[in-house]
């Protein structure tokens, strides 16, 4: 399990690029909401110095069409499917989770409680995870935003509410101004920053949340090479998701997989799994937070 590669939600369409999806260990869908959403007005994409901004706004066909049209086609891919679920209140997350509960093809559910491009859900992560937990027996992964004062606290709340794992991290808000006009490039002005600029943020979040909860973590944020993936595993991630790199290079999964094995081998590990949590100081209990550590 450790060292397995997924895509970050919204960074791969398995139906238009099935061979890319099959080169991953599991496919995570674009976020599905109760009703269809057209998404945000163009311009939706802008490259920045070490990353990119997106403002897609959860464009998706809605859960009805997802279940009748997309899911049967995705099931034919023959790889585990994780469905990313979004909403604007806990009841909406619960509704979708309960409708996914009987779908044999669905391996796990990722709760997107942290999209930076739509209005935030009105309820807390605790309420959303708890409502979803009540609605499904499927493994639940909470996808968190690093743009909070203490992500470990949110991770603990998700754990307590019944999350089986954490997906870390979602994008953080960023703004690009046109060089000439000094006006925002994106249609919504502000968008979600992804790519290499996000990597240190992701590493810090994985590091803190693994210490805080010990939960299995899908690490993501700016992974471009096998070494990036190994670093997330060393920080505490079990799995690694590829995001922006899939836009630039759809062949990235096979390249990163072989680089990851080589980077682990170069350090004397027989598999990348042996690196799990290596960056954590072993003398400290996993439950200790950075604050507690500073008091030691």
């Amino acid at each position: 399990m450790t060292g397995t590669l997924l895509n970050a939600s919204g960074c791969l369409d398995a139906l238009t690029a099935p061979e890319v999806a099959r080169s991953l260990d599991a496919y995570v869908t674009k976020t599905v909401t109760p009703l269809p959403r057209e998404g945000n007005p163009p311009v939706r994409i802008a490259e920045t110095q070490a990353g990119m901004l997106n403002s897609i706004g959860l464009a998706n066909p809605g859960i009805d069409r997802f279940l009748t049209r997309s899911l049967p086609q995705l099931a034919k891919l023959g790889i585990p499917l994780w469905v990313s679920v979004g909403g604007f209140e806990a009841a909406e997350y619960a509704e979708i989770c309960s409708r996914l509960d009987d779908e044999q093809e669905v391996t796990a559910i990722e709760l997107n409680v942290s999209c930076p491009n739509v209005e935030a859900p009105t309820e807390s992560t605790t309420q959303i995870v708890a409502a979803a937990r009540f609605a499904t027996r499927k493994p639940l992964w909470a996808k968190l935003s690093p743009a909070v004062p203490d992500i470990a606290e949110v991770a603990r709340a998700a754990h307590d509410a019944g999350a089986d794992g954490l997906s870390l991290v979602n994008t953080i808000r960023g703004l690009k101004l046109d060089d000439r006009t000094l006006k925002p490039v994106l249609g919504t002005a502000v968008g979600g920053l992804s790519g290499p600029a996000l990597k240190p943020v992701a590493l810090a979040a994985v590091y803190a949340c693994y210490r805080a909860t010990g939960l299995p973590i899908v690490g993501m944020g700016g992974v471009w090479t096998g070494l990036d993936a190994l670093q997330l595993i060393a920080a505490g991630a079990r799995r690694v998701a590829l995001g922006t790199v899939l836009f630039a290079d759809p062949d990235a999964p096979s390249r990163i997989r072989s680089e990851l094995a080589a980077e682990a081998a170069a350090r004397g590990w027989s598999t990348p799994a042996d690196a799990h949590g290596f960056a954590q100081e072993e003398s400290l209990p996993i439950e200790a937070t950075l604050d507690e550590r500073s008091r030691v």
């Binding site: 369409d13 163009p42 939706r44 994409i45 990119m52 997106n54 464009a59 630039a248 759809p250």
Partner: protein, 217 residues
């Protein structure tokens, strides 16, 4: 879906634009109007470029150096290499009886290859200056206008219009030729349907240009 690494054969200046010629290798040039994602050295994301010409053994792209990615592509030199993914998207429908090619500015990029494929049909090309209009040399049988004259002033009736250009031009072309095939443009991160960045509103509906376009009717 594999990216191929290809060597640059050369670049040529065409007015303000650069014609970037790369080795074709085993790459399929595709249908006119389809596009390729070109790795832009120093940039994170590749840039979508429609194929301009397909000389023997080569693929050629007409590029306007307006931003970091396009400037980087225009500064490539012979023997540099770049990763190429494509052809992608849907090109022009070629089953037309009375084709008329209509292009504006850098939007003429796919028209030389289209012209070649359709045996040099008449074309109407519009540019913002005489300097930009030098690119008209790439399209045979073309009537050229420079602002303030607009291409829509020159489109005869009852032609099968195949057009590419800036959005206002395409909207105007659609008014005078409602059945025109229009090649649209939008910033895109991936070119293969993943990012939803290139969604444009056409007829009140958002469409992903990379998989449903870039040519839309």
């Amino acid at each position: 879906m594999r990216r191929e690494r290809r060597r640059v054969v050369g670049t040529e200046q065409v007015g303000p634009y650069t014609l970037l010629r790369v080795e074709r290798g085993g790459l399929d040039p595709g249908v006119p109007g389809q596009f390729f994602m070109l790795e832009a050295p120093g940039c994170l994301l590749p840039r979508p470029m429609s194929l301009c010409l397909a000389p023997a053994g080569e693929l050629a792209f007409l590029i306007d150096p307006i931003g970091a990615g396009t400037r980087s592509l225009c500064s490539l030199e012979p023997r540099d290499t770049l990763a190429i993914l494509g052809p992608l998207g849907n090109g022009f429908g070629l089953d037309v009886e009375r084709p008329l090619l209509v292009g504006g500015g850098i939007g003429i990029a796919p028209l030389p290859y289209l012209s070649e494929t359709l045996a040099s049909p008449p074309a109407v090309l519009g540019f913002r200056s005489e300097w930009h209009a030098q690119a008209a040399e790439l399209v045979p049988n073309a009537q050229v206008c420079v602002e303030p004259t607009l291409v829509t002033d020159l489109i005869p009736a009852e032609m099968d219009v195949l057009a590419c250009g800036p959005e206002p031009m395409l909207e105007a072309v659609r008014l005078v030729a409602p059945t025109a095939q229009l090649a649209w443009e939008a910033p895109m991160a991936c070119g293969h349907g993943a990012c939803y960045g290139c969604a444009v509103e056409v007829g009140g509906e958002l469409k992903r240009l990379c998989v449903e376009g870039p040519v839309l009717c």
